[in-house]
Amino acid sequence: MDVGLIAQYIMNGLMLGTMYALVAVGFTLFFGVLDVIKFSHGDVLTVGAFVALATFGGLKAIGLDSQPILLVIMLVVAVFATALLGMVIARTMVLPLRSAPPLNTLLITLMLGTVLREMVRLFYPEGANPKPFPALLPSGSINIGQFNLRYDNLIMLAAGLGVIVGLQLLLNRTRLGLAIRAVAQDDETARTMGINFTVVVLITFAIGSGLAAFAGIMNGLYYNEINFGIGLLLGVIGFAAAILGGLGSIYGAILGGFLFAALQTIGAVALPFASAYKDVFAFTVVIIFMAWRPTGLIREKISERV
């Protein structure tokens, strides 16, 4: 196989991996602070992408044409909207069910995901159909042999990696990050040390959901199209990626995201009929992986009180 083609596949894999890692980090953050899985995470991503699209429509209508400004405003609006949504979800549904069986949290967030998805489908104008997503990044490319390095992909990759690095710094170098890590480790002790538990949880949900919006916009820019179902797919993949790396570990989630993308890319190259069966392949991998490592590569520490 040509080196250029391989480079092309690697580039695509890296793009997907960044997206998956952003979603997986959200799952891991939520699991870290509250020990819950928030199944609506993927659909929050959908909401983020659609908010961005609606903002684009609104800004176009008032005559704003500069692409970078458009993109920045879309990003800011979508990230803030989903951060708020994430906080509302945590406040009204996840925190009240803390003492209930874990199954109830799972069910309520799953159903909430359906509510969000259906709201987008029913109430966004023609939300049931795929929507074209505007190409807001420079469209040129560098051609090296068969390898076609597009500027927009390069920018997205850099931005995505930048966000991940930024999150790392936030978690490891700031007082807020310290508080989040403290709550994740032991919420009772953290409370005794004077950390406001509820506020830290809400901020964590806001951060995770904001990342989802970022990933949603990236997804839209990459495929030039969004639909109401993208979140379900990305959510399952993101969750699988988070488990792949071991829930609760940020590095694990990032690693898991790139691993999953690598698997998918290899699948697309190696399987003859891959394009149609791409998602079937992805989900099969998820299921087989669950059978092989039920709690991820880096195993979750389980101790049960009997």
């Binding site: 209930a100 299921i287 669950m290």
Partner: protein
């Protein structure tokens, strides 16, 4: 279920309150099914809500509950008669009978889900997929083979159980959220697979042949004397047989020592293991049995509808099955029946909310989980003898 409510059911509770409630409910159901005008339907539904809330407030359900608990056998028989009464009333009405058959087969499927979810605590978010396996089995078998159509129904169930067994290893090895991911991934995989697979009709779906027992074609209208009967009445009879069989099986299972084992498994897997219960065995039994029931219901439903497409077996449809279970009260088979009737019939009759049904039921489940986590009819504490004091 951490705290079980103790219901005091003296054995001398009279039979009539539960029968009276059943008669009222049946009459109401017939009225609701017969009415076509949207405003009238809304009025009827509102009236039902008011009556139920009022009865609950004034304690009317206490007497009904006690009477039901003391005479469940007689009540079950009356419920079957009630179902036949509804079918007899609409004997020539295709649409209503199709709706009734749909309700019955959905009840069978939810009973299967109840075995998995309600008894042994295995979460299955791919219920609609196994329903679909049954339906696609009957489509393929009726189109390409000469297998007797009556056999197609159990074969559909077996196929669903077999495909379910592919998931057994991951389901057995995982718990809670992780197990949920396995079935969610399967539900998405199944629908995508159907859509891209040309052999099974792709997104357009497949035609399903009708049921035919020894020359008696189920897809022909028939008549007794001068009364014309809808061909759906055939399917009603067969579905009722399937439902009665499934119901008896599930109820017996619940009351048997197997049911006890499954309950122990659900409530505390570790403790159950310490007491020597074979956890893997009972999980396999309940997951497989559940999928068998769901697949059988799906196979018959495919024949009834005579046409199937991937869009009928999406993840959202699986969630509707789970919603039914949660609304009814996980583990309570009678709750499942009540909830299925509500969930299937209301959007069909109230055309305006048809489009919003996924949204509506998901919101309803959120409300139930927040405010009444045990469902509309919580599962009562296990009682070994009818009327015995717990």
């Amino acid at each position: 279920m951490t705290e079980m409510k103790i219901s005091h059911a003296p054995s001398h509770a009279p039979l009539w309150p539960s029968i009276a409630a059943l008669v009222l409910a049946t009459g109401y159901l017939i009225a609701l099914l017969a009415v076509e005008e949207q405003t009238l339907i809304i009025g009827l539904l509102a009236a039902a809500v008011v009556v139920v809330v009022a009865a609950n407030y004034f304690g009317g359900f206490g007497a009904v509950g006690r009477s039901f608990a003391a005479h469940e056998g007689a009540f079950s028989l009356s419920a079957i008669i009630a179902a036949f009464a509804v079918a007899a009333y609409f004997h020539d009405n295709h649409f209503v009978l199709l709706l009734v058959v749909t309700v019955i087969l959905y009840i069978v499927a939810t009973l299967g889900l109840n075995v998995q979810f309600g008894y042994s605590g295995i979460v299955n978010f791919a219920g609609a997929s196994f329903f679909g396996v049954g339906a696609y089995t009957s489509a393929v078998l009726t189109a390409h083979t000469a297998v007797p159509t009556l056999l197609v129904v159990p074969i559909g169930g077996v196929c669903a159980a077999l495909i379910g067994s592919l998931l057994l290893l991951p389901v057995l090895r995982t718990r809670g959220h992780y197990a949920a991911l396995v079935t969610i991934a399967f539900a998405l995989l199944f629908k995508t697979f159907l859509e891209v697979n040309d052999v099974l009709g792709g997104p357009q779906g497949l035609q399903v042949g009708g049921m035919n027992i020894l020359g008696w074609s189920f897809n022909d209208n028939w008549s007794i004397g001068s009364i014309d009967l809808s061909f759906y009445l055939n399917y009603f009879l067969l579905s009722m047989l399937l439902l009665i069989g499934a119901f008896v099986l599930v109820r017996r299972l619940e009351r048997s020592w197997i049911g006890l084992n499954l309950d122990a498994l659900r409530l505390d897997e570790t403790a159950a293991g310490c007491f020597g219960l074979n956890i893997a065995r009972w999980k396999i039994v309940s997951f497989t049995l559940g999928n068998l029931l769901i697949g059988m219901a799906g196979a018959l439903f495919g024949m009834v509808g005579s046409f199937i497409a991937p869009n009928n077996y999406t993840f959202a449809d699986s969630l509707i099955l789970v919603s039914i279970l949660l609304l009814g009260g996980i583990g309570n088979v009678w709750g499942v029946i009540v909830a299925t009737i509500i969930v299937v019939i209301v959007p069909e009759k109230l055309q305006t909310i048809q489009e919003y049904r996924f949204l509506l039921y998901a919101s309803l489940v959120i409300a139930v989980l927040l405010f009444r986590p045990d469902g509309l009819l919580p599962r009562p504490v296990r009682r070994y003898f009818p009327g015995a004091q717990p």
